[in-house]
């Protein structure tokens, strides 16, 4: 039996960084190009649990780097990369592919003779929703297969709401909250108590929310919930633990230019949203150094009164659980909604941008632009278009750049849509230095092809099959059903959103695809970022003939050393 890798997963739980960029990268280099809704987000009430499913877990980690973030809590980019690389040796074939080859006569298709029986009936088990008088929403999802109970509290407000002079505050808060413990029980004592029970309580911060989560064996669930509630109501932020968190974040900052994929993801997002946008600004040594204990306390006091969503799943009695949750949360003051954000978004400044990295032999090419949000009624059509562009082995990008040209292992692209703000259009390809220009041109040709190469009925049918026939994997476990409901509640979407979305997908036509492609795909509004080894890139990027190549400075700002005179007492 191998337990080793579970240790990795538990180590992951320790970290509390914003990892969305890492996730994105891992998705690309891993195996699945998300069609949209599956984007791994913070604190899903338990995806894959941390823990050792010993050997199998090892295999999953090895083969599916993109899975790692599901190990919940928060995963530092650092940790994720270390896991992927140390366990490395694992190579998966991987996805996205293109368009249909010219209609060739084909020999018999034996697979078409295989019957597809009617699918067994399935009604995903919906959680019970209870809205308390104070506006807090509870979700109860019974699941008696295994003797565990888990839960979480989602709290609106995240990194995008923090003071620009203190970027990193939410990340520090997410770590320090848990490690500090409560007035009654220090974080260290809490660690001892929980680990002896194979239980977990974790806190974390993300771009638009923070969360507290817990899980344990059924027999320990009352006690673990009581501890979690105590941490929720009576945190005891400690200077020592804040310092520890600051060191951890600082480590991530000084290492952020070591991996080219990390650089590419981060810097391309800055091209889209702007370097100082609430969605892309990054913690610096100075901004995390500016965060004080009082800042953490103030953040906690402020966000505690937002619209909380409490969700619990597992092996419990619903009436008893409801009573317990009411007892815990009904007494809190009436929630007040955060004021709506008024961020402004604009297309990136088009052009070719370059970051030189001398210790690599492969270029990361990112082609980016502004996307949309899920309220946009064109999203179902865009989802189908994405599937055709970069959604699987049969997607145009995969088929052309990987299968036909052999220029990349990792390639993909999609027009992104986030829940409450515009996502990114984002295509990427990783190719050897010498083929950087060829691969970039090939990817651009497929992007342009969305508006010039008419979509076919065959492509439409394939894309719909791909999406719709695997649609039930969005809710094939009770945990997933719960996670979806919590997310919909959090962003204010109707509870039947998935059903209406699915129905809309089914109605998408070739005309819809042509229309949305023309409406949203404008190659003259895209920025191209290349991270790679300058001297090896031959022909050079000027061969793209898209204007002068602009160098991007990624130097990490170091706080000024105190002058000698200032050091004197």
């Amino acid at each position: 039996m191998k337990i080793s890798l579970s240790n990795f997963s538990d180590a992951i739980v320790l970290k509390g960084h914003d990892f969305s960029r890492a996730v994105k990268r891992l998705i690309w280099t891993g195996a699945l190009a998300p069609e949209g809704i599956q984007i791994v987000k913070e604190n899903l009430p338990q995806g894959l649990k941390p823990g050792l499913f010993s050997r199998a877990l090892a295999a999953r980690l090895k083969s599916c780097p993109f899975k790692a973030p599901e190990f919940k809590g928060a995963l530092s980019l650092l940790t994720s990369l270390i896991i992927v690389l140390i366990l490395g040796g694992c190579h998966n074939i991987q996805q996205p592919k293109v368009y249909v080859a010219p209609q060739l006569a084909q020999q018999a298709k034996p697979w078409e003779q295989i019957p597809t029986p009617k699918l067994h009936d399935f009604n995903p088990h919906q959680p019970q929703r209870i809205e308390l008088k104070n506006g807090i929403v509870l979700f109860l999802q019974e699941d008696h297969e295994l003797p565990f109970v888990s839960g979480s509290v989602s709290i609106p407000g995240g990194a995008r709401d923090e003071d620009p002079a203190k970027v990193g505050l939410v990340s520090l808060y997410g770590q320090t909250w848990r490690t500090s413990g409560t007035a009654k029980l220090s974080g260290d004592a809490l660690d001892d108590m929980l680990e002896a029970k194979a239980a977990h309580i974790e806190t974390g911060g993300d771009v638009d929310s923070t969360a507290l989560s817990w899980d344990s064996l059924k027999g320990d669930s009352d006690q673990v919930f009581a501890l979690a509630l105590d941490l929720f109501l009576h945190p005891n932020f400690s200077a020592e633990k804040l310092q520890l968190a600051q060191q951890q974040v600082a480590t991530g900052i000084v290492r952020r230019n070591d991996d080219e994929g990390e650089i590419a993801g981060r810097e391309s997002a800055k091209l889209v949203y702007g370097p100082n946008s609430p969605y892309t600004r990054q913690p610096e040594l100075a901004t995390i150094g500016a965060v004080t204990l009082d800042d953490l306390k103030a953040w906690h006091d402020r966000t505690l009164h937002g619209k909380l969503i409490v969700s619990v799943s597992g092996d419990f009695d619903p009436a008893a659980m409801e009573a317990k949750l009411r007892g815990a949360f009904e007494g809190l003051p009436t929630v007040h909604a955060d004021p709506a954000r008024h961020d402004s978004f604009a297309d990136p400044k088009p052009g070719v941008y370059f970051i030189d990295k001398e210790d690599v032999n492969q270029s990361n090419v990112e082609i980016v632009g502004l996307g949309t949000d899920r309220h946009n009624p064109d999203v179902p059509s865009l989802a189908v278009m994405n599937e055709i562009l970069g959604g699987g082995f049969a997607s145009r990008l995969f088929q052309k750049v990987r299968t036909e040209l052999g220029l990349a292992y990792a390639v993909g692209g999609s027009y992104g849509y986030s829940w409450d703000h515009p996502g990114e259009f984002h295509a990427m390809v990783m190719t050897k230095s010498a083929s950087t220009v060829d691969a970039t041109k090939a990817a651009l040709a497929e992007i342009n092809g969305l508006t010039t190469k008419p979509f076919t009925e065959e492509e439409l049918a394939r894309a719909k099959d791909n999406i719709l026939n695997s649609f039930l994997f969005r809710y094939d476990t009770r945990e997933k059903v719960l996670a979806v409901r919590v997310r919909l509640e959090f962003y204010g979407y109707p509870p039947d959103y998935l059903e209406t979305y699915k129905a809309a997908l089914e109605k998408v036509t070739v005309a819809d695809l042509d229309r949305v492609a023309k409406k949203y795909i404008h190659s003259d509004k895209l920025a191209i970022l290349v991270v790679g080894n300058g001297p090896e890139i031959k022909p050079g990027l000027d061969e793209l003939k898209l204007g002068p190549v602009q160098k991007v400075d990624i130097t990490i700002p170091m706080p000024k050393q105190p002058a000698a005179s200032e050091q004197k007492p």
Partner: protein, 519 residues
């Protein structure tokens, strides 16, 4: 009897599913319940089928586990098992082609053209560059001719259009795994696809795919500091065993693997006796088994291939790798340990748990919390594989301003403590509790369960070992931990590797992978 009831309810009285699930759930956690839900069958060709019924939702996951990986690559062909794995997505004589009879002829010409090119390219003396260029051109023409018969990616396309989720494969040093999930009504289609690619692979688009694999190597190994470090670390730790060889393959070797070699690998290792196929989900064994037998009987029989027999000689000198480059520092070390069949396997697990698992672990508390010199520190094992003797490894990520040497010293201090003093009762109990709980946690995931059952069935000849291992876990003692620590964690058994930050890296270090080889 219980089981029969359960399925009757599921099938005919759907509204009662919830209740039924509840009943099953009460028993879903132990070996006995799994014995009731799992059916195992060894086919005449030696292939083992395992079906685990878990009808929580109308889906299933599968795992095909081949007991061969890159450790089996012949000398000079590192990366071959992985190269073959990519080929297994290219279709068969029945899917992915417009006319297999004609394609077969064309593919033979591609191979002949490649051989001719290679023969000229590899001439040590008197290589004729003009002839080489002509041979390359001839190869490209042969490739283009064969391509005319290809329906690109049709195998994966059919799978994806039928709802395949998480479609992927993984080649490790020890094994190769193929897996995905699907709606349950596609079980027969899956059986046709999977048995087809196990038994009837065609070396289609092989040389294009080889380019793709070279890109994969650049991504995972060459262009990442830790990827580079790990490759050098293993190459240094092992002098004889293939665990020391780059698992994705040395660049010059990957670039010269040919389709004939890949097909030979398939012929030797993809035989029934070397394959376990596990299906977990909404599948009824009594109905599915005859159908699965029909399809998977197509896989060739033949003897179980001989095992790789090289034994790594005992290490007698401490070894060190130091990479100096413009990245942040990192420290890694490893000690040789026995394979997974060792009676001490669980003792190693206990050590890694106690040293590394969570905020109570010794390395976290020492290096991260108290000394405040590392952002994280872990011990883990076995690495890079477990079928053969692997390593027990430790790593630490220094905080800004701290060095690999400090990581090393601090890790050694913790190791010395483990050798000198027994772990506490609390630590040992914690390891046992967490192991049990984490095993349970994994049971609710079809894919994870399929992978585990496949691996245990292969490695122990019986999936039950997944549960029976808990008895061995319970038997681990404090004395065992001290004994093993004293046997293994000694300097002469150690290999260490570190990245030291160098503001001005030498040009030789800038380009880790030299291009070489054919094509």
């Amino acid at each position: 009897m219980q089981r029969k009831h359960f399925y009757w309810i599921y099938k005919y009285v759907f509204l009662l599913v919830l209740a039924a699930t509840t009943l099953a759930g009460a028993r879903a956690q132990d070996l006995k319940s799994f014995e009731q839900r799992i059916t195992t069958k060894v086919l005449p060709n030696g292939l083992t089928l395992v079906i685990c019924e878990r009808p929580e939702a109308p889906v299933f996951s599968y795992s095909t586990f081949i007991d061969a990986g890159d450790v089996n690559d012949p000398s000079g062909q590192s990366g071959l098992a992985h190269m073959f794995e990519h080929l297994a997505f290219k279709g068969t004589s029945q899917i992915g082609t417009t006319d297999y009879a004609a394609e077969k002829v064309a593919l033979a010409k591609v191979e002949a053209a490649n051989d001719a090119y290679e023969a000229e390219y590899l001439k040590a003396v008197g290589r004729d560059e003009k002839k080489l260029a002509e041979l390359k051109q001839a190869f490209k023409e042969a490739e283009a001719e064969a391509h005319k018969f290809v329906v690109p990616n049709q195998f994966t396309d059919v799978a994806e259009r039928n709802g395949a989720e998480g479609l992927n494969a993984e080649t490790g040093l020890d094994e190769t795994m193929y897996f995905w999930s699907m709606p349950e009504n596609r079980l027969e289609l899956w059986a046709w696809l999977e048995s087809g690619r196990l038994s009837d692979v065609v070396p289609r688009e092989f040389y294009k795919e080889r380019d793709v694999v070279n890109e994969e190597r650049r991504m995972r190994t060459d262009s990442n500091p830790i990827g580079r470090l790990v490759e050098q670390f293993l190459a240094t730790a092992y002098v004889a065993h293939n665990y020391g060889r780059s698992s994705i393959g040395w660049p010059s070797e990957v670039q010269q693997i040919n389709a004939t070699e890949a097909m030979d690998f398939h012929k030797k290792y993809y035989v029934g006796a070397n394959i376990v196929v596990v299906v977990v989900g909404d599948v009824k064994a009594s109905e599915a088994l005859p159908m699965l037998e029909k399809y998977f009987s197509k896989v060739p029989g033949g003897p179980k291939p001989e095992e790789m027999t090289t034994v790594e000689p005992k290490q007698f000198a401490e070894k060190t790798v130091a990479i100096r480059e413009q990245t942040q520092p990192f420290y890694l070390e490893g000690y040789h340990r026995p394979d997974y069949r060792s009676p001490d396997a669980e003792v190693y697990d206990a050590i890694s748990d106690i040293m590394s698992n969570g905020r109570v672990s010794r390395l976290y508390r020492s290096l991260v919390r108290d000394k405040q010199i590392a952002a994280e520190a872990q011990g883990f094992s076995p690495f890079p594989g477990d079928k053969y003797p692997g390593l027990f490894a430790f790593y630490a990520v220094p905080l800004p301003g701290h060095t690999p040497t400090e990581m090393r010293d601090a890790i050694h201090k913790e190791i010395d403590k483990l050798r000198a003093t027994d772990v506490t009762d609390e630590e040992l109990a914690m390891y046992k509790t967490r192991t049990r709980a984490d095993l349970l946690r994994g049971l609710a995931d079809n894919q994870g369960l399929a992978n585990s059952l496949a691996e245990y069935q292969t490695r122990f000849g019986d999936w039950r070992e997944l549960f029976l291992q808990l008895d061995k876990v319970d038997k681990v003692t404090k004395a065992d931990i001290r004994r093993v620590a004293n046997e293994v964690f000694v300097p002469s058994n150690r290999t260490s590797a570190s990245i030291e930050t160098d503001a001005a890296a030498t040009p030789a270090q800038k380009t880790p992978a030299q291009d070489g080889g054919a094509q």
